[in-house]
């Protein structure tokens, strides 16, 4: 017979699984709805509904990541070789979809190594969180970059919004940055952990950086 925490964990897992399946169905239905020839007002509502479904999924994923990071085993990076340029392509595709034409999304992988070692899934999760933030504040442009650094690789997301200090924080729970910190800390190489920063740029906008050893 399972004990109370075990039963609670099983219940959580079952509910989360069900929720995510239903979200998948909801997102699928909304995607189909958006393919129809809708009147402008209906289209606006359908797109807003799709955005909300995506945002709920995103929050749920962030919550699960942080919960895992807080568990005794912590969050562990399953380090494999990967191609940073392809990862940025994937992120750009998602950003363009989320931006809906409101901002342009550029990729700069010229300084990226051909391959590097990290947990692709976790890195995407972190960059995804930073991207959501950038999309909220960008005026017209977001730049996704990967570059070689002295100690490893740096992924960055830069927006041309008001910058960190000026960022209105009323609706932010800080979950996104905590997810990024957890993902960075899950990566190590020869004893050196990853880290991340969020700062304002001198010439305007905010830049998020994920440094992986």
């Amino acid at each position: 017979m399972a004990d109370a925490p075990q039963l609670a964990a099983q219940l959580d897992a079952a509910v989360i699984h069900d929720l995510k399946n239903r979200l998948a169905i909801l997102a699928g239905e909304l995607a189909r709805l958006n393919e129809l020839d809708l009147p402008p007002e209906a289209r606006r509502h359908a797109l807003a509904a799709q955005e909300q479904a995506d945002a709920v999924t995103h929050k749920l994923v962030a919550y699960l990541t942080l919960r895992r990071a807080a568990a005794p085993d912590g969050l562990r990076a399953n380090t494999q070789e990967d191609t940073p340029a392809l990862l940025l392509d994937e992120l750009q595709a998602e950003a363009l979809l989320l931006a809906g034409g409101r901002v342009e999304v550029l990729v700069d992988a010229a300084g990226a190594p051909d391959f590097w070692f990290y947990d692709r899934h976790l890195v995407l999760l972190a960059l995804d969180s930073a991207l959501y933030n950038a999309l909220r504040f960008a005026r017209s442009r977001i730049t996704l970059r990967a570059s070689t650094t002295a100690g490893g690789i740096c992924f960055s997301i830069r927006d041309d919004g008001p910058g960190v200090q000026a960022t209105p924080d009323a609706s932010s729970t800080g979950v996104g940055l905590r997810v990024c910190e957890a993902v960075a800390a899950a990566h190590r190489n020869r004893g050196i952990p990853g880290h991340c920063t969020l700062r304002s740029e001198r010439d305007g906008g905010a830049v998020f950086e994920l440094h992986l050893p």
Binding site: I16, K20, A24, A53, T57, E90, A93, F115, F117, D119
Partner: protein, 539 residues
């Protein structure tokens, strides 16, 4: 290396496996929008296996959670181990849990990628295209590995290792693996170190380094590294496997059981539950054995190529636990399920004889024993099988036959402390328990003395004497691993010195063939094989 032309995405045949009809439909529509019209749908593992057998599938998109019965990971294992797909076919999991990676990393077979629900058409398209392209680019290497011709794998892997892209890492990985299989342990070790110089957290390179150290006789150092790896990467099952081999060799029952339990929790498939059940049986943890083997039997129900091991061991555990009636029923069912396997027929009779004795049906037990004894010599049994037979003989009052089998197991396994302990336990509760215990200990002592004589002859450089002692030891313990590998090595040395009539080469070949049958992956067998090939050529 011939370039492989990838199929255009629209020409791919995709198998979609999901227990929810609505989700299957959504995925199919996504695929249609991407131009993929050839979509095969499966609602469960059985449908998926049927589809893989009958259709030429190019990509599998499978949900991880498939409702009741087999889950996605088990289906992947069945497909890959049953060779229902070529190694080039990408397997993508569609999961509802974004952290499924932790679970997936633990499996015996890894998926090529996974997508978290809900996903966009663009993301699905990118996954399909990038994974197909990677697998196509790796096809020559994957096919070489599949052939298990390690010289060939080494050559193909070397070409990939020379590249400067992400595929070079896979080239290095397979090159190191091939070097291990070819018993070039030092070179493999150096390559693993080189990879760890790139990133110290690469789990496969950490494991490879530990295995290379173990193969070079540094088991304690390997154990230390593996323990650290299991702390850093608690879901990396392969690290526990190697650790368990080391503790088994050392006869550490408690550690071995603990590791078997951890692995079975981590990768709860039939294979791991069977291993846990087998270890629990050997160390006398019968309740745990029953529980693990019941799960193994339930999980192996969906196996592509079912084996009788799960029900046979469960039946033994049930007899040990006093549930003779259930054991009898299970043994009967197993005999019917595997009618053409002579060893299974023999063992189900042995288990039935044990159960009948326990139920007080002495005559039925004796009749079964008479029936199986006439065939016992013709059938090759593994050590667990011999102990099942020994227990049946002792239970049916055929003490001499039972003792003889126990001594045989003891003689063949004096270098395996856990098997020796199991041989002693086989007689537990019988009238001959004390006698068997003494005989097992004596058999171990005789072998130990003989091996010491052999080592002394080797140290003094008396090869002829070492060969004579070795041959004597082999006649006493024909299936003893250490005796066989020692003798094989001696014949290889003799062959290298002078072997005009080829007698030593022939004897070494013969012993090597036996060793390949028992433990082809053992480091010393690999080293002997390499030596033989280098001196004589193909086996």
């Amino acid at each position: 290396m011939a370039a492989v032309q990838p199929k255009p995405t629209s020409a791919l045949k995709v198998l979609v496996v999901d227990d929810q009809q609505q989700v299957r439909q959504i995925i199919r529509e996504s695929l249609y929008r991407l131009g993929i019209k050839s979509v095969v749908m499966a609602a469960n593992a059985a449908d998926a296996i049927r589809a893989m057998k009958s259709e030429q599938i190019d990509i599998v998109l499978s949900d991880y959670n498939l409702g009741e019965g087999t889950d996605g990971q088990q289906l992947l294992e069945a497909a890959r181990s049953g060779r229902l797909l070529t190694p080039v076919v990408p397997w993508i999991f569609i999961t509802a849990n974004s952290l499924k990676a932790d679970i997936l990393a633990a499996g015996d077979y890894m998926p090529d990628g996974y997508i978290v629900k809900p996903f966009t058409d663009q993301l699905l398209s990118r996954y399909i295209e990038s994974l197909s392209a990677r697998k196509q680019a790796l096809a020559p290497l994957l096919m070489a590995v599949d052939s298990r011709r390690w010289d060939y794998v080494l050559a193909v892997a070397e070409a990939y290792a020379q590249r400067s892209d992400a595929l070079s890492v896979e080239g290095h990985r397979q090159k190191a693996h091939a070097l291990m299989r070819l018993a070039r342990f030092e070179e493999a070790h150096a390559l693993y170190e080189r990879m760890l110089g790139l990133n110290s957290e690469l789990a496969w390179a950490q494991l490879g380094r530990a295995q290379a150290l173990r193969a070079q006789g540094q088991a304690a150092e390997a154990q230390k590294l593996l323990k650290r790896l299991t702390i850093d990467q608690p879901s990396y099952a392969a690290a526990y496997d190697t650790l368990m081999e080391i503790t088994e060799d050392a006869g550490d029952e408690a550690q071995t059981l603990d590791l078997a339990r951890k692995i079975a929790d981590l990768v709860p498939n039939a294979k791991r539950k069977l291993k846990l059940g087998a270890v629990a049986l050997v160390v006398g943890e019968n309740e745990l054995a029953i529980k693990a083997l019941e799960t193994a039997v339930a999980k192996s129900r969906y196996a592509v190529t079912p084996t009788p091991n799960e029900p046979l061991l469960l039946s033994q555990a049930l007899v040990n636990g006093g549930d003779a009636q259930r054991a009898l029923t299970l043994a009967g069912e197993t005999a019917k399920r595997f009618p053409d396997q002579t060893s299974t027929q023999l063992l189900t009779k042995a288990l039935s004889a044990q159960a009948q004795s326990q139920l007080g049906n002495g005559a039925a037990a004796a009749a079964l024993m008479d029936e199986l004894r006439s065939h016992a010599q013709e059938v090759h049994l593994d050590e667990n099988g011999k102990l099942m037979l020994a227990k049946a003989a002792l239970a049916a009052g055929q003490d001499e036959f039972g003792q003889q089998l126990i001594i045989e197991v003891a003689r063949n396994n004096s270098d395996r402390p856990m098997m020796l302990a199991a041989a002693m336990r086989a007689a537990a509760g019988s009238a001959k328990e004390a006698e068997c215990r003494d005989q097992v200990a004596a058999a171990g002592k005789v072998l130990e003395d003989t091996l010491q004589q052999l080592q002394a002859a080797k140290r003094s450089g008396d090869l002829a004497k070492a060969l004579t002692v070795g041959e004597e030891a082999l006649s006493l313990s024909p299936q003893h691993f250490t005796v066989q590998i020692e003798l094989c090595t001696l014949h290889l040395i003799a062959m290298n010195r002078s072997d005009e009539d080829g007698a030593h080469a022939n004897r070494a070949r013969e012993l090597l063939a036996r060793l390949e049958g028992i433990n082809p992956d053992h480091d010393r067998v690999a080293a002997a094989r390499r030596f033989f090939r280098e001196r004589v050529g193909a086996l």
